[in-house]
Symmetry: C2
Subunit: 279 residues, 2 copies
């Protein structure tokens, strides 16, 4: 595996890779979720590139940019073992050199759900993903469905900016007890982790209700809230049932694919999870 | 010359072209200025692509989008004669399909000069140029220095978004009497056209003063205003002397490369011109 730090080295090494190239952008702190993306890329593409970049632009003031878990040596080893041939691990100044002034914004999609709780977050995501896709020029790029809104934003910008990449969404990977894998799970105390199981339990309860023909948006959200609300350490940011493509909140009877998603705080740690309900 | 209308045809044809590929994006209504870009690209590259797209996103309400001169047959003939091998001439829906929501914005640079008079204009330019550069993936892209602020914005976004293209600025082409070529010159009455010669005359007067060691920003702007202000049909939008790279307005003694630029209305027709003053 080649590790490159600059855009110019990246372009040189990328030109030597066979097509189709699969690409897995990450912020590191790898877990099985990331590695499932690499393995999928490896199965579908002739070569796999990955990136490792904790993007300051997508963290708000007071968020965990400074303490976000970083262990490049471990991440590089895991990437190499999973089949990555080119790893792009730039410093902040390589992506945002002095004078950097260009931002990418996806209107509408980014203003809903998480967007209302983390202003600017998706602008930071859209900008860095555009930069990475433009620099790497993969045929296919892989993202987790756990970050459902991020995935919708990236699908939209890849199409809108004619980046010529197929955006592939991959299923959320969970611990055996149901907790969705996240680099932020390491922040949880044992007690918080136990109570965080209510997130997937709540989603499963709503999903079961959906399969039993409960179609009222409010009732479905309520099933989720009921499960999480009783956990003393859980502080619900939002529980949303939204149109799966526009992310517009749904009311009344739900007749089309819907994204049931949530964000919950445990102390300073914010966890998200979701499930798509298909009629 | 191949003429293609869709992004997917464009990608197929582009893949068959030899490198380096030069690219000349235009809104059509071609004049010698555009053709000088094509000829430069032809001299420097193995193949030349051009685009023809009147971009609605860069016209404000009340501007001339509907009446902007369009003559595709003539433009296509001129492109072919000048050495273009691939012409991308999409409809508006190909570039902005329903649901299009992604915009590119260059902070700072776009808020100055023309940006204050044409809000949203440079966001429209930045977005469409990003789309075209991402879709065509040229090694080199050619733009006229007449649109000096546009050129600065495009240089910035190409670097910031890692588009991997060299942005080449080319000298303004003028009629023998000094009028900078513009697709909008056809709107001018003979009387307006005569008075519009004051634009280049004013710039030349300031340039002569500069070479005679006049360095005061206000005095240099004043030379330009003096020449144009006496024309009864001329309505000055702005005369600016700004730092050539940041476009920040300069006051007092000028010690570094400066962009002397102007925008002047003749009835509904808005003309721009500029000159760079090098210490």
């Amino acid at each position: 595996m080649h590790v490159v730090r600059t855009l110019s080295e990246l372009r040189t090494c990328r030109a030597a890779l066979r097509a189709p190239l699969g690409f897995v952008p990450t912020m590191g702190a790898l877990h099985e979720g990331h590695l499932s993306l690499v393995r999928r890329a490896h199965a579908e593409c002739a070569a796999v590139a990955a990136s490792l970049f904790v993007n300051p632009a997508q963290f708000g003031p007071g968020e965990d940019f400074a303490r976000y878990p970083r262990d490049e040596a471990r991440d590089a080893r895991l990437f190499a073992e999973a089949g990555v041939t080119l790893l792009f691990a730039p410093g902040v100044e390589e992506i945002y050199p002095p004078g950097h002034a260009t931002g990418v914004r996806v209107a509408g999609l980014t203003e809903r759900l998480e967007g209302t709780h983390r202003p600017g977050h998706f602008d930071g995501v859209a900008t860095v993903v555009t930069i990475l896709l433009a620099a790497v020029r993969p045929e296919r790029a892989y993202f987790g469905e756990k970050d459902a809104q991020q995935l919708a934003v990236i699908r939209r910008l890849a199409r809108d900016l004619a980046l010529g990449v197929a955006v592939v969404g991959c299923p959320t990977v969970r611990d055996p007890d149901g907790l969705a894998l996240s680099s932020r799970n390491v922040y949880l105390s044992p007690e918080e982790r136990e109570q965080a199981l209510s997130l997937s339990r709540g989603l499963r309860a709503a999903e079961a209700a959906w399969h039993a023909d409960v179609r009222d948006a409010g009732s479905l959200r309520e099933r989720v809230r009921r499960e999480i609300g009783v956990q003393p350490l859980a502080d619900i940011d939002c529980v949303s049932l939204a149109d799966a493509s526009t992310l517009q909140e749904l009311e009344g009877r739900v007749e089309r694919p819907a994204l049931l998603s949530l964000a919950v705080r445990f102390g300073a740690t914010r966890l998200i999870d979701n499930v798509v309900l298909e009629p």
